[in-house]
């Protein structure tokens, strides 16, 4: 009981402080926030709140497993539906996770090449500035050259493998694009290989090597992207997302159309002058929106436009202001934890 009371007070305090922070951050001038040192930290604080909000994803998944997992394990009523839900969840998470990892691997080599390009710039910069707390220039140049050679070799091997897999499965447009990129990559690799270790005495040659290896990485990433788009993992993800999730979601909401048609016949009754006016307005707006309105009247779009711009705008503004005031009151109630029955010490009494 005591612990619940302490927990409740702690939650109320944190809620209040968080509300005070954002309230003041919004109202106070920028100069005051900068003087308080808050302006620089605001991004990190916002990111922290976003992270907390994102934890809801994890909590939701845990809760799903608890509720439905229990039903499956103890074979409770409708446990088959729970099993179907959990299987779908696990399957989709696996497929999406694998697709995400595959997409990250597309940029891996490019990242490596970019680092080498950056390293070349840093060698020249440190040399120009006479920096002493770094290894000797010759040593760094040799390491750069070795790393570039190894990277080029790995890229060439991976490129060969990619070409073998893709050549058989690509449609004509992508095949042509792949051939163009292969030609560009081979030219870039030749130019990069053309710079020997002896050439790297001059700063311009080091920077040139850096630029060339960066270019190799950029071109290779484009080839890997084509490979990723035609990979089994990506096709599987597209099947589950576009083929199942999007299609089933659209189908589910399109069922509402049937209910609306049914409600139009059963429930839309004109019982007063107000409902008659509302029905007339609805009919005019609907007819003004269809593509064959001219068969009814040429003026329908103009009448519709007037209805939306004048009476609708006036009425909706009033509704919006009312809703926002209600939202403000609700926000104050949540800020002061008046809506906090779930962790109140009066729970269960």
């Amino acid at each position: 009981m005591k612990e619940q009371g302490f927990r409740g007070r702690l939650i109320r305090l944190v809620t209040f402080l968080a509300g005070v922070y954002f309230f003041l951050e919004f109202l106070l001038p920028k100069s005051v926030l900068e003087a308080a040192g808050v302006a620089d930290l605001h991004d990190e604080i916002s990111n922290g709140f976003i992270v907390v909000g994102t934890m809801a994803f994890g909590l939701g998944i845990i809760n799903l497993f608890r509720v439905h997992g229990t039903r499956v394990v103890f074979r409770r009523r409708d446990w088959l539906y729970s099993a179907a839900l959990l299987s779908g969840l696990v399957l989709m998470m696996t497929v999406t996770g694998q697709d995400w990892l595959n997409s990250l691997s597309v940029t891996e080599r490019n990242r490596e090449c970019r680092h080498l390009g950056k390293f070349a710039e840093v060698i020249v910069e440190d040399s120009t500035n006479g920096r002493e707390d770094v290894p000797p220039r010759t040593y760094r140049i040799n390491k750069l050259h070795e790393a570039v050679e190894v990277t080029i070799k790995n890229i060439s091997l991976e490129h060969e493998k990619a070409i073998k897999t893709l050549s058989q499965s690509l449609e004509e447009v992508s095949l042509v694009r792949l051939q163009e990129l292969t030609k560009e990559l081979n030219e870039a690799i030749l130019l990069t290989d053309g710079i020997t270790a002896d050439d790297l005495a001059a700063d311009e040659q080091i920077l040139l090597l850096g630029r060339r290896i960066t270019e190799v990485g950029v071109i290779f990433e484009k080839i890997l992207r084509i490979q990723y788009e035609h990979s089994t993992g990506n096709k599987l993800y597209l099947f589950f997302f576009e083929g199942l999730f999007v299609s089933l979601g659209s189908a589910m909401f399109s069922l509402l159309g049937v209910y609306i048609a049914s409600a139009a016949y059963r429930a839309f009754r004109i019982r007063s002058v107000e409902s008659l006016l509302m029905m007339l307005a609805a009919v005019v707006v609907m007819l003004g929106q269809i593509s064959f309105y001219e068969y009814v009247s040429e003026d329908l779009p103009n009448i519709r436009q007037w209805l939306l711009e004048v009476p609708n705008t006036a009425a909706f503004r009033a509704i919006k202001i009312g809703a926002m005031i209600a939202g403000l009151v609700m926000a104050f109630r949540m800020w002061f934890s008046i809506e906090s029955e779930s962790f109140s010490s009066r729970r269960g009494q």
């Binding site: 990242r111 999730f245 999007v246 269809i290 705008t313």
Partner: protein
């Protein structure tokens, strides 16, 4: 359709500049895909044709798949129409993926002094400072156009409220579902919204304007879907009339029975 024509003119007069970018937020999922997807598609197509570089993101997790499928589909369609329409990821468009945080994210983007550091990476993990499209983009003042497509309640308001800086509000185009048109009109009237696509009808009108400007462009499904929707509207009106006539008939019958009983 006035609002769609206005939006078309806005995008048609945009010019490609090295230090400017368009931002598109595809905050919709499968439930409102039927209306929002054609809207996003026509706007993306127009931006591609004008060679305006743009970045896509979403605040709604189920919408992430559309960030990839829609531009890929448009690129393929444009390449088939005319082989000179070649577009490159990272140069002509970039996919920023799902961004959690809703209003907090929008606020941090609006206040950011370096968008590349704020947004960090694209969906493939490439740092934005290494993508050609973001080379010279620092703040939202360089956002030439903000397009937002959603059927969700409360999301669009956050953009109007937070996506701005002192002395700067980006040109804002919105694609909404038919049910949220009355709500969007109040912002159109106040000038907080510069252009509006009113459901699938707006997308169909925009598609027609694109077809008028680019005659080689084939008709797309927005026109077909809008025609089907028109038939559905007529069906609803017919059912309402029939239902009310039935009610009048039943009232008349009850009255006759009462008069008969009185006699």
């Amino acid at each position: 359709m006035k609002s769609a024509s206005t939006l078309f003119n806005i995008i048609d007069t945009l010019e490609k500049k090295e230090d400017q970018i368009a931002l598109l937020a595809l905050d919709f999922g499968p439930n409102t895909k039927a209306e929002n997807e054609p809207q996003a598609e026509v706007i993306i197509e127009h931006l591609f044709r004008k060679r305006i570089p743009f970045a896509l993101f979403t605040l709604y997790a189920p919408g992430e798949g559309f960030l990839k499928s829609i531009p890929d589909r448009v690129v393929e369609r444009l390449a088939q129409e005319d082989s000179s329409y070649q577009f490159e990821y990272g140069v002509d468009w970039v996919n920023l993926g799902y961004r959690p945080g809703n209003a907090l994210f929008l606020q941090s983007v609006a206040k950011s002094k370096d968008l590349r550091a704020e947004l960090e990476k694209d969906i493939f993990g490439t740092p934005l400072k290494n993508t050609p499209i973001f080379q010279r983009i620092m703040t939202i003042r360089q956002v030439s156009f903000l397009g937002q497509f959603t059927g969700l309640v409360g999301v669009f308001d956050s953009y109007v409220q937070f996506f701005q800086q002192e002395g700067f509000i980006p040109t804002f185009g919105h694609g909404c579902t038919s049910i949220t048109i009355p709500e969007a009109y109040i912002y159109l009237d106040s000038g907080q919204l510069n252009g509006l696509l009113e459901g699938i009808a707006g997308a169909a009108w925009y598609s027609k304007l694109l077809k008028d400007k680019y005659p080689k462009r084939p008709n797309d499904k927005a026109l077909v879907t809008n025609t089907a929707l028109g038939v559905a509207h007529l069906m609803i009106i017919f059912l309402i009339i029939i239902g009310n006539l039935r009610e009048v008939y039943r009232w008349y019958q009850r009255r006759m029975v009462k008069e008969g009983a009185a006699i």
